[in-house]
Symmetry: C2
Subunit: 302 residues, 2 copies
Amino acid sequence: MFLAMAKHMKWAEGFIAVDWGTTNRRAYRIDSSGACQDEFEDSNGVLSIAPTGFGDAVGQIRERLGAHPMLLAGMIGSNRGWKEAPYVPCPAGLDDLAGKLVWAGDQEAIVPGVSYVGDTRADVMRGEEVQLLGAVASKLVGPDALVCHPGTHNKWAQLGGGAIRSFRTIMTGELFSLLKDHSILSDLLTGEVEANDTFRSAARYALRNDTLPADLFAVRARVLLGQAEKKDAASYTSGLLIGTDVRIGLSQSPTDEIVVIGRPDLTRLYAAAIAEAGKAVTELGGEKCFLSGIFEIAKRMS
Amino acid sequence: MFLAMAKHMKWAEGFIAVDWGTTNRRAYRIDSSGACQDEFEDSNGVLSIAPTGFGDAVGQIRERLGAHPMLLAGMIGSNRGWKEAPYVPCPAGLDDLAGKLVWAGDQEAIVPGVSYVGDTRADVMRGEEVQLLGAVASKLVGPDALVCHPGTHNKWAQLGGGAIRSFRTIMTGELFSLLKDHSILSDLLTGEVEANDTFRSAARYALRNDTLPADLFAVRARVLLGQAEKKDAASYTSGLLIGTDVRIGLSQSPTDEIVVIGRPDLTRLYAAAIAEAGKAVTELGGEKCFLSGIFEIAKRMS
């Protein structure tokens, strides 16, 4: 398969896969069986690199992982990245992504993101699609599941026949960061967020109420009036945000199979909130899903 | 009446009223008839003054407006202000505020804020109460109206018998500022917010949907996918936030009389969103309501 991969590449020796986000990047050297032989992560995200600096940034990766062809996914394909890879519209499967790769160099291909345009709304993703479809390809997720992918911008994706049929982004992680770093709640949100009783109680409240911008101010009022302790405010606020997120996410799908893919510290919180909604949920690590997905795309290159 | 006002004051010569907020303050010299004879505004809000600096800060006001006794309202009575004035619980009228003044000096009295504690939530206000009750006292607002007071933290107050019976704070202004100054939407939100068709359309959407944290991300997706123009993003985002705010505010009251009190640039936006909800609404300037309320409190001091 690797001989067919691209123009001038020595694919039989393997390739490098990069999950290149806004603020960091993870690079993996993958052998011809799909196994990861070496990897690293650093903070050279897309926003830290000048528009003319991506050639050098790619060179640094090869210095560490070898002179292999590269498959790049994530914000590297955005209008702030190396070369823009236009979104593939839903429904989007691995064949669609593999068919719309954009070549940034002779040996560097960028995986496109996915767009959704419905009657009343529009949405975009870049990077999560590789993990979502990789999870399906490796049978970790059924072909018609509802998949949640927490992060700065959480994605709820409805799969159908193994493809992404629709999805919705919810700004939960970024809203929490804004509140923690810059708002009147900042001094209350210094503690750790845990999936404890406070978190679950706030999530239950938000699952049943649609008053988030009021509930957020009440975080402060509750402490001022002695109704809550400052140490609980971070978990409470996270519970309000993630409970709201789960309410919106579950409302779009009758699916019974719900899977959360991502970093364990985040999937744990979402799983707790989904459980409060009375739904069974499975947690999956995002990295193995990415490796599965990017290898599947490499196999389809021809 | 002024002879009875307080310990060591020369009330017959008038007094100084200060609406002292977090980031700025407005001071007024008021004569014995309640008329404003002189005034100024500056950016010496509570947060800009060191805990030991309030005596000097008050002295600066007297240098400009004369050596009169002072009635202070707003965040000056918070735990970040000069001296904490404990909240008066709902229902709260002018008599209740006047009966719980806190003396920061021999000639400086602080008006307390108001708290609300219900079965499922708690809330606080400081400063708006003077305007709300001043509007009632001057017959600009009926005794049982629903009053909206936009600002960094918008307040919806349900009046009853001329008192504040309950209220709810919605973090709308602060959320817009956070998104504008620090979020992934920052580069889209540089334009002016206007009560135009884009604003009204977004407000209508938010009045009928409870998906704000998803709709906010869609602001970016709509532009990326060519479904909306960047120049409209600020009005659209404001429409989403204020529409959500109005949906929550109207849901707590069957009242037909709805009044918006505050700065004209904000009351105009809220009035437009309330109109989209099919309700009649009256706009009032906040300053005259404040002057009415603070004079009514002065009259009650004994």
